[in-house]
C-alpha cells in the first residue's frame, strides 16, 4: 500500500492538521481493535520503537509500539506548534518533524514566500526527504494551508514548487482555506491572489474551502442539535468530530469545529485508498478522472450527511437524502452552487453500508438535474469503501470539477483590484527582496486566465449537445 505525507503550514494549516491527526488516530483505533500495525495505519503513521536511541527505527510488522505521524509541521511563529507539542498529540510528532521561527510572516505573502522560502529551503527539504525515506511507496503530499495570511500562503506555496522539483512523481493535493469577505487581515486579497498563481502552476489538485461555508455548516448542525427535534438519539457533531472530547472543545474554540470538517474531508478522501471496499479508488484515480486539463484542477467538495441518526439500519429515504444533499449549495465547503453550473466531472466516494445499486439509483435520479460538459455527459467516478466513519453507518464525499468555483475567483480578483488600484499596502511587499510589481501583474493574469477558461466552458452550457463528427474510414 502507498503512504502519504501531510505538510501543514502556518497557523491555519497546523490547526487543521492537529484535528486531522486526532481523528485519524481515532479512526484507526476504532477499525484496528487488535493493535497490530498494518498497511492501513501505515498510510499515515509509522510504527517506531522509541526505546531505540536516535532516529527510532521504523518497525513494519507486529504490535503497535509508538505511532509517529507522517507529517512535517511548519510555522514561522511558535504558538500553534508549541501548543500541539504540549497537547494530547505530542507523542505523534517529534522535534525532527518541525520547523519554526519566532518572527512570523506578518500577514505578508512576500515574507513567507521570498524571505522564509530561501532561508528555510534546505531545512524544509531535509525534513521532507527524511519523511519520504520513511515511506516505501510515497504517493501523495497533502499540503494544508490558508490563502489569506503570510506563512501558509507564502511559504506553503513556495513549498509546492520545491515538492514539484524534488518529488516530481508524487502527487501534490492542497487544501486551501480561502478568506471570507469579512476577513480581518487587510492584506488577504494580495496574499490569496499571489498564492493562486502558485496553486495554478504547481498543484495537482486543489480542494478550496472557505471559512464562511464551514461556519454556516456548523451553525446548521448546532441548530438541529439545539432544536431537539431529533430526540436524544442524535450524536451531536459525529461527522465533524468523531469523539466526545472534541465536542466540548468546540465551545471553547469556534475554529476547532470548522477545522474538524476539513480534517474529515481528508480522512474521507483517503478512506478508499486505506481501507477495503468493493470498488476501490486510489488517490491517483482522483486526478486521472477529475482533472480533464492540467489547469482545471479545483475540486469543490461536500460531505454528507452532516448529522446522522444513531440507528443502524438505513431507512432508504435517509440514504437518498444523503446523495441529494451532496449537490445542494448549503453543503459545499466553498460558497458555490454546482447544481446551477457546469460539471466537468464528478466523483462520489461512499463509505459504509451502501451498495452499488444505491449508487446507481441515485446517479440516475440526480443526473437529470445536473448539467455536464458536452464531451463528458456521463462524467461520474464512484467508489465504495466498506469502512464507515467512526460512529456512523455511511457517509458520502462528493467531489465536483465544476465551473461554480469561478465566482470565488472573480470575487477574489475584485477585492484585490480594490486595494491594488490605490497601491495600498503595496510597499510592504515591494520592500521584500525579490518582490517586484510584475509579481502582482503576473498573478492577476494567471487568475484571469483561469477565470477565462471557466467562462469558455460556461459559454457551452446553453449550446445543444452534439456528437462530434466521427472519423470517416475507408473500408
Amino acid at each position: 500500500m502507498t503512504q502519504s505525507v501531510v505538510v501543514q503550514v502556518g497557523q491555519c494549516g497546523n490547526q487543521i492538521g492537529c484535528c486531522f491527526w486526532d481523528l485519524a488516530l481515532r479512526e484507526h483505533a476504532a477499525v484496528n481493535q487488535k493493535g497490530i500495525y498494518d498497511e492501513a495505519i501505515g498510510s499515515f503513521f509509522r510504527n517506531v520503537d522509541t526505546r531505540v536511541v536516535g532516529d527510532g527505527s521504523s518497525i513494519s510488522k507486529g504490535k503497535i509500539c509508538s505511532l509517529k505521524a507522517r507529517a512535517v509541521l511548519i510555522d514561522m511563529e511558535e504558538g500553534v506548534v508549541n501548543e500541539i507539542l504540549q497537547g494530547p498529540l505530542r507523542d505523534v510528532f517529534d522535534s525532527k518533524q518541525l520547523i519554526t521561527d519566532i518572527s512570523g510572516s506578518g500577514n505578508n505573502w512576500a515574507v513567507g514566500h521570498k524571505v522564509f522560502g530561501s532561508l528555510y529551503r534546505e531545512q524544509i527539504l531535509e525534513k521532507l526527504r527524511k519523511s519520504a525515506e520513511h515511506c516505501d511507496c510515497l504517493q501523495c503530499f497533502f499540503i494544508l494551508h490558508s490563502m489569506g495570511g503570510g506563512t501558509g500562503s507564502g511559504l506553503g506555496t513556495f513549498l509546492l514548487k520545491v515538492l514539484e522539483d524534488e518529488f516530481p512523481e508524487v502527487y501534490r493535493f492542497v487544501t486551501s482555506v480561502y478568506p471570507s469577505s469579512e476577513d480581518d487581515v487587510i492584506t488577504s486579497p494580495y496574499n490569496s491572489l499571489l498564492a493562486v498563481k502558485e496553486l495554478n502552476e504547481h498543484a495537482d489538485c486543489v480542494l478550496p474551502i472557505d471559512n464562511q461555508s464551514l461556519f454556516d455548516i456548523i451553525s446548521k448542525i448546532d441548530l438541529v442539535v439545539n432544536s431537539g427535534k431529533l430526540g436524544p438519539i442524535v450524536k451531536p457533531n459525529s461527522l465533524v468530530t468523531s469523539g466526545g472530547t472534541a465536542f466540548k472543545k468546540q465551545h471553547k474554540k469556534p475554529f476547532d469545529a470548522m477545522n474538524n470538517i476539513v480534517a474529515n474531508l481528508l480522512l474521507h478522501l483517503t478512506s478508499s485508498a486505506r481501507f477495503e471496499g468493493s470498488l476501490n479508488m486510489d488517490l491517483n484515480e482522483i486526478s486521472m478522472n477529475l482533472v480533464p486539463f492540467p489547469q482545471l484542477h479545483y475540486l469543490v467538495s461536500s460531505l454528507t450527511p452532516l448529522y446522522t441518526l444513531a440507528d443502524v439500519n438505513i431507512p432508504p429515504r435517509r440514504l437518498d437524502l444523503m446523495f441529494s444533499d451532496a449537490f445542494s449549495k448549503d453543503h459545499q465547503l466553498i460558497q458555490a452552487d454546482p447544481k446551477h453550473s457546469l460539471y466537468l466531472a464528478c466523483a462520489l466516494m461512499v463509505r459504509g453500508n451502501v451498495q452499488i445499486s444505491d449508487l446507481r439509483r441515485n446517479i440516475e435520479r440526480l443526473k437529470p438535474s445536473l448539467q455536464f460538459v458536452s464531451w463528458n455527459q456521463e462524467g461520474w467516478k464512484t467508489s465504495l469503501c466498506s469502512v464507515p466513519p467512526v460512529g456512523h453507518s455511511h457517509s458520502l464525499l462528493a467531489l465536483a470539477n465544476n465551473t461554480c468555483v469561478k465566482p470565488t475567483f472573480i470575487e477574489l480578483r475584485e477585492r484585490f483590484m480594490r486595494l491594488y488600484k490605490k497601491k495600498a499596502h503595496l510597499h510592504h511587499y515591494l520592500q521584500v527582496e525579490g518582490m517586484e510589481e510584475s509579481c502582482f501583474t503576473e498573478a492577476v493574469s494567471s487568475l484571469s486566465a483561469l477565470i477565462e477558461e471557466y467562462d469558455q466552458l460556461d459559454a457551452t452550457k446553453s449550446l445543444p449537445v452534439e456528437d462530434v463528427q466521427r472519423l470517416s474510414i475507408a473500408v
Binding site: 504517493q139 476501490n280 478522472n289 463528458n376
Partner: protein, 474 residues
C-alpha cells in the same frame, strides 16, 4: 486438459474468486440429480480443468495479478475461509500503487516493468498442468490495471504460448458512473485484444445488474451479487459436458471445442452468454421447467437480442426466405433481428436427451455463408448445474455487441475530439526514480488512441455492413 486463469485488477480478482467458488461448490454439490458414477466423473473433470491438489487441498489453477495489495489479500483470505479450496500463496503478484484508471499506465509502465515476474508465475502454474488447454483472462476494460496490463499480458501469452488458447472474460463497464475515462480505456483494450486473443466473452455490468434486480429479486445489489451471477453464467458454460452424447466421458478440450464452433472467422470473436432460468432461491421451489419452454424462451432471447428472460420482444421473427431482404432497409434503422454467426447451446439436467433443438437449426438465424450445420452446436450433460433441475446456456457470436461498442466508440471520440486529449497522456505518478516513460508518454499514447478509435470505427462499420450485405443476399 487444464485451464489456467489469470485474474487481473480489482474486478478480475473479485470475479475470479466467485467463479472458482461457484465451480467448486457446484462440483461438490449432492444435488446433481444423476448417478454416483456420473457425478464422480463430472467432479474429476471439473477438477482437472480448474483445480490441482496440494496436500489434499484443492488449489485453484490461477494467477492473481493486481497493482495494489488490498483486493488480492481479501480474496486470498476469503478462499481460505471457505475451508474447501484455496489459492496458492505463491501465485500472486501485487505492487503497492495501482494504475490510477490509466490504461497507458497499465500497458506501457506496469506491463514492461513486471513482465518477467508475472510471466514467470504463469509459467509455474502452467508447469503444474498435465496438459494445458488454454488461458482464461478475467479483466474489466474500464480501469487501468485490468485493461492496460490485461492487454499487455494477453499479447505476451499470445507470443509465448502460441499453441494454447486465450479467452478473455471482458467486463463491460456500466454506461455511466464507473470511471470517467472508461471509454478511452475500453477501446484501447479492445483494439489490442482483438489482435492477440482467440475469443472475447463479454459480460455487461448493466445487464447483470438488471438480472440481479429483475430475476434474482435482490433489493440492495452489491458487487458480490453481480459477481455471483457472472460466476454462475461462466460456470454454466465451462463446467464439464459429455464429449459424446450418452457417455460418461467428459469433454477434454473445452476451449478448443468452443472456439472451433463459435469463432468461424478471426474477425468475429466477440461472444455473449445468455442463461435460463435464473431466479432467486425463494421462487425456485414454486417453479417447474420443461425443455420446450426453456428453449423457446432462449431462442427468442437470441433473435430479439434480449439479455434476460424478462421483457423479451416476442414480435421479432427471423426474416422469411424469398421476401425482400431486410438488410437494405436496415442500414439506418434499428435492427430488431439479431443475426448469428454461430451458436452453442449447453443443456444441463434431467431428461436432457429429450430436448428438441430444432428451433436453433433454422437457417434464417444465420448468415448465408455459414449454415446451421456448421454454425450450431449443442453440449449436454445429465448432471444438473447449481440449484436448477434443468438449465440452459447459450453462447453466441452474433450482432449483439455492435450497439454497445458503437456507443463506447462514440463517447470516446466525443471526448477525444472535443479539445485536447483528456489528461491521458500525462503518465504521471510512477513510484521510484524519474521514469523514462514520462517524456514519451504523450507522443506514444495519443497515436495509440487515434488508431484505437479508427480501428474500432472500422470493425463496427465493417461488421454492420458485412452482416447487412449477407442479409441482403438472402
Amino acid at each position: 486438459m487444464s485451464i489456467v486463469t489469470v485474474q487481473l485488477g480489482q474486478c478480475g480478482n473479485q470475479i475470479g474468486f466467485e467463479v472458482f467458488n461457484a465451480l467448486f461448490t457446484d462440483s461438490q454439490s449432492s444435488q446433481g440429480l444423476c448417478s454416483k458414477r456420473e457425478n464422480e466423473a463430472y467432479q474429476a473433470s471439473c477438477k482437472e480443468r480448474f483445480f490441482r491438489e496440494e496436500k489434499g487441498v484443492p488449489i485453484a489453477r490461477a494467477v492473481l495479478v493486481d497493482m495494489e495489495p488490498k483486493v488480492i489479500n481479501h480474496v486470498l483470505s476469503k478462499a481460505a475461509q471457505s475451508g474447501q479450496w484455496k489459492y496458492s500463496q505463491h501465485a500472486c503478484f501485487c505492487q503497492k500503487q495501482g494504475s490510477g484508471n490509466n490504461w497507458a499506465y497499465g500497458y506501457s509502465v506496469h506491463g514492461p516493468k513486471h513482465e518477467d515476474s508475472i510471466m514467470n508465475l504463469i509459467q509455474k502454474e502452467v508447469e503444474k498442468c498435465d496438459s494445458l488447454n488454454g488461458f482464461f483472462i478475467i479483466m474489466s476494460i474500464a480501469g487501468g490495471t485490468g485493461s492496460g496490463l490485461g492487454a499487455f499480458l494477453t499479447q505476451h501469452l499470445h507470443d509465448h504460448y502460441s499453441n494454447a488458447l486465450k479467452m478473455n472474460q471482458i467486463i463491460w463497464p456500466y454506461g455511466t458512473g464507473e470511471v470517467i475515462v472508461q471509454n478511452y480505456n475500453s477501446i484501447l483494450t479492445l483494439s489490442h485484444l482483438y489482435r492477440s486473443s482467440d475469443a472475447l466473452l463479454i459480460h455487461e455490468n448493466d445487464t447483470i445488474h438488471k438480472i440481479c434486480a429483475k430475476l434474482m429479486n435482490i433489493k440492495q445489489i452489491s458487487f458480490g451479487d453481480i459477481n455471483q451471477v457472472l460466476a454462475h453464467q461462466l460456470g454454466s458454460v465451462f463446467q464439464p459436458t459429455y464429449s459424446v452424447e450418452g457417455s460418461f466421458h467428459y469433454r477434454r478440450n473445452p476451449l478448443g471445442d468452443l472456439m472451433e464452433n463459435l469463432v468461424p472467422h478471426p474477425e468475429f470473436k466477440m461472444l455473449g452468454v445468455r442463461n435460463i432460468p435464473q431466479m432467486s432461491e425463494n421462487s425456485l421451489p414454486y417453479s417447474t421447467f420443461t425443455w420446450a419452454g426453456l428453449l423457446k424462451h432462449l431462442r427468442q432471447m437470441l433473435i430479439s437480442n434480449a439479455k434476460m428472460e424478462e421483457g423479451i420482444d416476442w414480435q421479432v421473427r427471423p426474416p422469411l426466405p424469398g421476401l425482400p431482404p431486410l438488410g437494405k432497409m436496415s442500414q439506418n434503422r434499428e435492427q430488431h433481428f439479431n443475426t448469428s454467426l454461430a451458436n452453442l447451446v449447453i443443456l444441463r439436467g434431467k431428461d436432457v436427451q429429450n430436448a428438441n433443438l430444432e428451433g436453433f437449426k433454422d437457417p434464417a438465424l444465420y448468415t448465408s455463408w455459414l449454415g446451421p450445420d456448421e454454425a450450431f452446436t449443442v453440449w449436454k450433460t445429465q448432471r444438473a448445474f447449481s440449484r436448477y433441475e434443468k438449465s440452459a446456456a447459450l453462447v453466441s457470436n452474433s450482432q449483439f455487441f455492435v450497439k454497445p461498442l458503437d456507443t463506447i466508440v462514440g463517447k470516446a471520440w466525443n471526448m477525444f475530439a472535443s479539445k485536447e486529449a483528456w489528461n491521458y497522456a500525462r503518465v504521471h505518478g510512477t513510484p521510484g526514480p524519474a521514469p523514462p516513460q514520462t517524456p514519451g508518454g504523450d507522443s506514444r499514447v495519443r497515436p495509440l488512441l487515434t488508431t484505437g478509435l479508427a480501428a474500432w470505427g472500422t470493425v463496427v462499420r465493417g461488421r454492420v455492413s458485412e452482416v447487412c450485405a449477407e442479409l441482403s443476399k438472402q
